[in-house]
């Protein structure tokens, strides 16, 4: 069906709480990504995963960690969330790397940290 599904779509947390954002894809794509999007700043890469347990930092990894135990599933974890992590988070996947093909994006997870 070529779909990237993100859960939850909306989340409100208090500062210091842990956050788990989940992403699934049904295309058996090797590569998956987590981005955050803030107004006027475009999409900033947090982490990239090349396959199960093969993760690499993006441009802004501080304060985040990821987990990929199955090819179709990629999680973003915020341990002790901070107010400046309020943002919209997008998961994406691609067949191999971005040099070979397009990224398929989910609909986003809007996180508010109070």
């Amino acid at each position: 069906d070529m779909k990237v599904t993100q859960m939850p779509r909306y989340l409100i947390k208090r500062m210091g709480e842990n956050v788990l954002l989940e992403c699934g894809q049904d295309m058996s794509h090797e590569t998956m990504y987590w981005y955050r999007q803030d107004p006027g700043l475009g999409l900033q890469l947090i982490y990239i995963s090349y396959d199960v347990d093969s993760n690499s930092e993006g441009d802004i990894p501080k304060g985040y960690r990821v987990s990929r135990k199955k090819r179709e599933h990629f999680s973003l974890i915020l341990d002790s969330a901070k107010t400046n992590q309020t943002s919209v988070y997008f998961c994406a996947s691609s067949f191999q790397g971005a040099n070979t093909g397009q990224l398929y994006f989910g609909e986003g997870s809007k996180l508010t940290v109070l």
């Binding site: 990237v4 990504y33 981005y35 107004p39 006027g40 700043l41 475009g42 999409l43 900033q44 890469l45 990239i48 090349y50 690499s56 993006g58 441009d59 997008f90 994406a92 790397g97 971005a98 040099n99 070979t100 093909g101 397009q102 990224l103 398929y104 994006f105 989910g106 609909e107 986003g108």
Partner: protein, 111 residues
């Protein structure tokens, strides 16, 4: 244009006009992606152009890639209201091809 230190660009045009958005980059790029993002949605690819292609068309869209000037452009011919969206360029960079997105161009097409 996108990338570098530029802020989000904003364009406002009338229906039927042509419009061009630009991206420039500083490092060698093998492929440029162009995405559009509708309000409240995730980005979706509209054109992907590789370094061995100088131009690519899809309906009213035309993308160019100039490796000598290290720039790419996206043109929309006879824009329609439904073209209103934010448009992003992205390039594959680094040895592991981590895609880098520009800050985007917000296009509003008025009837």
């Amino acid at each position: 244009s996108q990338w570098g230190e530029e802020n989000l660009q904003a364009l406002s045009i009338q229906e039927g006009e042509d419009v061009t958005m630009n991206c420039s980059y500083k490092t060698y790029t093998t492929v440029v992606h162009w995405y559009r993002q509708d309000s409240g949605r995730g980005p979706a690819l509209i054109i992907l152009i590789r370094s061995n292609e100088r131009e690519k068309r899809s309906g009213r869209l035309r993308a160019t890639l100039d490796t000598s000037s290290q720039s790419s452009s996206l043109s929309i011919t006879a824009a329609q209201c439904e073209d209103t969206a934010v448009y992003f360029c992205a390039r594959a960079s680094g040895g592991n091809y981590k895609p880098t997105f520009g800050k985007g161009t917000s296009l509003v097409v008025h009837p």
